[in-house]
Amino acid sequence: MENIRNKRNRKFRTREYYGNSASDYHLLPFRFIELSESKEILVNEVGESLIVPRGTALKIAQRCIAENDPIIPDLISRFFISRKPIPELIDVLATRYRTKKSFLDSFTSLHIFVLTLRCNHSCHYCQVSRVTENREDFDISYNDIDLGIDHMFKSPSKKLTIEFQGGEPLLAFDKLEYAIERITRLNKDFKKELSFVVCTNATVFNTKNLQFLKEHNVLISTSLDGPEFLHDANRPKTGRNSYQLVLNGINYARKMVGHDQVSALMTTTRLSLDYPIEIIDNYLENGFNNIFLRPISPYGFALKNKTKNIYDDKKFLEFYKKGLDHIIKINQRGRYFVEDYTAILLKKILTPFCTNYVDLQSPSGIINNVVVFNYDGRVYASDESRMLAERNDLTFLLGHVSDSYESIFYGKKSKELSKYWSNESLAGCSDCAFQSYCGADPVYHYASQGDFEGFRPTSGFCLKNMGIIKHLFELMDFRKEEVMPIFISWISN
C-alpha cells in the first residue's frame, strides 16, 4: 500500500479522480438463482446476497456491466467483484468465512443420552419407543453413562449441551439424576458452559423430578402437536386424553420451574397439513412465543406407517408458507412470535454469524456437532441415525461407548461419512445459490434415497430447503417494508 504520511497538496480533486473504472474487474466466488420472472438472487461464499434484475449474473460474467451501472457499488462493497484479482480486503472476507464456519471450532457440543426406550405413550409415528416394564433391557446402564460422560468431556467445545431422550427419559429418573449430578460434579474441574435439556412427553412430572430439574436449570422440551383433536389423533394414549395430559404437564412444569424453562416441539403429520393456522393459534393460546414448523422425519418406524406419514413434500411447503404468513400477521399485530426454522435461516442470510442448528450445517452436524449415546451403549452419529438403527440398519453406528474417543470420532465411519457431509462438494449443491444457507445431510439422503450423496432433483431435503429459502427471499423482496422489521427482530437475540 502507498505511503500515507501527511498530505502536501490540499487542492480538492473531483469525484472522477477517485473513481476507478470498473470495466476491468475480477470475479469473486458467487452463485445465483432465479427469483421471479424479472429478478435473480446472487449469493457469495460468505452468504452475502443481492436481489438483482434477471440476467445480471450473465452480464457480470461477460463484463458487460456499464461503468455507471448503479449496481457496481453494491457488487464491490458486498464482495461479488473486485478490482484486483485478490481483493485488498481479503482479510476481512477471510474473517467472515471463518465466522460463518465457526461452529466447527468447538467440534461436538450436543451430546444426546438416550436414557431408556420405555415410554407410557404409543404415538403412531414414534421411531423408537417401547411400552414395556422391562427396565434391564431398555434402560442405559450406569457404566455406559459414565463412559459417555467421559467422552463428552474430551470434546474441545467450551459449551456442552446435554440432551436426555427416550422413550420417556423421566421413566428412568434415577439415571437422569445420576448423570446430571456426575456431570455437574466433574464440571467443577472442566469448567465448561453447560446446558441441560430433557425431552419429555410431560405426562410423568411430579414434585420430586420437577424440583430436581429446577435445581439444575434443566430446560424442559415437550411435544405439542396443536389443537386437541389433532394432538390426540397423533398421540393416542389408550383410554386417556393425551392433549389434556400434556397441557396439564406443561402448566405444572411452568409453575414449578418457570415459564421460560418449558418449550414445545410439534411434528407435522399428514393430518396436521390442513391446520397450520389452528396449530399456531394453539401455541399462542398456550403462552408460547415460538413454534418450530418441522416436517416429520423419514426415519425409523415412521417409514413403516406409510399411508399415514409419507406425504408430498410440496404439501409441507404449502403448510409452512401458510403458517409463516399467519405468524407474520401475528407479529404485525404487535405480538412477538417466532417461527424457529425461519429464524435459523434468517440468521444465516442476514447476519455475519453462524448458527448452532445441527441439521443445517456444512460440514454437516453429525459428529461435528452432535453425537448420541444410546441406551444400549452404542454410539450414533445423530438422533436420526439411531432411529434407523431401531430398524436394524446400523449404517451410522460409530462404535460402542466403551471404544476409544479416537475410534468413535475419528474412526473409519466418520472418515467415510466425511466425503458426503459438505454441500460444497455435493452434486447439485456445489453450484446452488443457497449453499451457504443450507446444509448437507447424509443420514437423510441415505434413509430416503439409499445413499449418502443423494440426488438433489428428487430430494425432499432439497425441495424443502430450496423452497423455504426462496420463499424467504420473495418475502424480503416483494413485502420488504412489511416483513423486514419482523425478521430483524427475530435474528437479534
Binding site: K7, Y17, L89, V92, P485, N493
Partner: protein, 370 residues
C-alpha cells in the same frame, strides 16, 4: 458559546507557557502557574495593575469570568491566551497536530502542512501533568493523531499512567492501523480505557475516498478497523451526514454489521457548517430534514441488531419521532446554541441544540409542541 481564545497584551513573557490556574483573586485578576513554577497573572483591565508591575502579566483578557481554579491555559509572549483544559467541561481534548493524511471535504478544522508534532507534543506532555487526576474523560484529536506514530503511543502511555481514572477517546481516520505491525505498538495500552473513534463515510470505496480526498483510504480504514477488532480494541464508527453520505447510509449500516460487528458504538453526526464545508457547500449541504428517512432506517436497523447507535449534532425537531431517543447532547458546551425558534419548545431540556459555529442553520428548526 464560550470563547476559548483571547488576544491581550503580555508583559515579561519570554516564551510560551502552559499553566494551571492557581488563584482567582477577583473577577479582574487571575493567576496561574506552570510545571516549573512560572507564575503569570491575567487581568481583564487593559492597563497593567501597579501591584503586578514586576510580574509576568497578560492584560486585556476578556474571558476571566469563564475561568475556574484548575483550568489550564496556554500563554504566548504576544498576549495570545488559549484555554487548553476546562475543569467544568466534559469535552476536553489534547490537540496533537494540524497535519493530516486525508483532506475531508467537510473538515471542520482544515489541516495544515507544517510539521507541528513536536510543538504540540511538548505542550501536551505538560498539560497531562497539570490536569486533575480525577478527570473522567479526555479526547485526543488533530489533524490525524496517528501521524505522531511512536510518539503517539508514548503520549497515550503517559496519559494512562498519569491519569489512571481517565477514559480516553481518540479521533483518528484509522488508516495507519491497516498495518498490523503498527497496531502491535499499542499492545501495552490499557484497552478498557481507550476508544478509537474512526470515521467511515460509505460502504463503497470510491465514495469514501472522494469524501476524505485520499486514494485507497477506504481500504486502509477498513483493514485498520479489522486489525483493531482482532486485537480487541474498543471502536466507535462515526459518519458525518451530508449530500454525499446519506443515500447509501442504510447500506453502510448493513456493511458495518456484516463486516465490523465488533464495533461498540456508531455515531451519525450532523454537519457543522464551518471549516471546509462552506467552501464545498454545493457538494455537501442538504437539509437534515431531507435525509431523515435514510437516517431512521439505518439507526433502527443497527439498534435492532444490537449495536449501540447515536445521533450527534442534530436538534430533535429535525429528527423523526422514532429516532429522537438516539439523539445525544453532543455539541461541545462551548459551541452549543439554541435559536429564537426554540422558545416554547417542549424538548428544550433534552435537545442538544445547534452548532454556534455553523454559518447557516436548517430552515426546518421549529419548536416541538406536545
Amino acid at each position: 458559546m464560550i470563547d476559548l481564545v483571547c488576544l491581550g497584551k503580555a508583559f515579561d513573557l519570554q516564551k510560551e507557557i502552559v499553566a494551571k490556574i492557581t488563584g482567582i483573586e477577583d473577577s479582574r485578576v487571575v493567576n496561574c502557574k506552570s510545571l516549573n513554577g512560572d507564575l503569570v497573572f491575567l487581568q481583564s483591565d487593559t492597563s497593567i495593575n501597579p501591584d503586578l508591575a514586576n510580574q509576568k502579566v497578560v492584560v486585556g483578557q476578556k474571558f476571566l469570568d469563564q475561568l475556574y481554579l484548575g483550568d489550564v491555559l496556554l500563554l504566548k509572549p504576544n498576549g495570545f491566551v488559549r484555554i487548553l483544559f476546562r475543569v467544568k467541561s466534559n469535552h476536553n481534548s489534547l490537540f496533537v497536530t494540524e497535519m493530516c493524511n486525508s483532506n475531508c471535504l467537510m473538515c471542520s478544522q482544515p489541516p495544515k502542512n507544517a510539521d507541528d508534532i513536536d510543538y504540540h507534543y511538548t505542550i501536551n506532555e505538560q498539560l497531562i501533568n497539570l490536569i486533575p487526576k480525577s478527570t473522567k474523560f479526555l479526547g485526543i484529536t488533530g489533524g490525524e493523531p496517528l501521524l505522531l506514530e511512536s510518539k503517539f503511543v508514548k503520549l497515550l502511555d503517559d496519559c494512562q499512567n498519569l491519569l489512571p481514572e481517565t477514559h480516553i477517546h481518540v479521533l483518528t481516520n484509522g488508516r495507519y492501523f491497516a498495518w498490523p505491525k503498527f497496531v502491535e505498538l499499542f499492545n501495552g495500552i490499557d484497552k478498557e480505557r481507550i476508544v478509537f473513534g474512526i470515521p467511515l463515510y460509505s460502504d463503497f470505496d470510491e465514495n469514501h475516498d472522494f469524501i476524505v480526498q485520499a486514494k485507497n483510504a477506504f481500504n486502509q480504514t477498513i483493514l485498520g478497523l479489522h486489525n483493531l477488532g482482532r486485537n480487541e480494541f474498543r471502536i466507535e464508527i462515526r459518519c458525518v451526514l451530508h449530500k454525499l453520505t446519506f443515500e447509501r447510509l442504510p447500506r453502510l449500516a448493513e456493511y458495518i454489521y456484516s463486516n465490523l460487528p465488533f464495533v461498540e458504538h456508531i455515531a451519525f453526526m450532523g454537519l457543522e457548517y464551518t471549516g471546509y464545508t462552506p467552501y464545498n457547500s454545493k457538494l455537501l449541504w442538504i437539509e437534515p430534514h431531507a435525509y431523515s428517512t435514510e437516517l431512521e432506517q439505518s439507526v433502527l436497523f443497527l439498534n435492532s441488531v444490537g449495536i449501540n447507535v447515536s445521533i450527534y449534532n442534530i436538534p430533535l425537531c429535525l429528527l423523526t419521532p422514532s429516532t429522537r431517543k438516539f439523539a445525544r447532547n453532543s455539541i461541545s458546551d462551548w459551541k452549543k446554541e439554541y435559536l429564537e425558534e426554540c422558545i416554547g419548545c417542549s424538548h428544550l431540556n433534552d435537545c442538544g441544540g445547534v452548532f454556534g459555529t455553523s454559518k447557516i442553520q436548517s430552515a426546518y428548526i421549529k419548536a416541538i409542541i406536545d
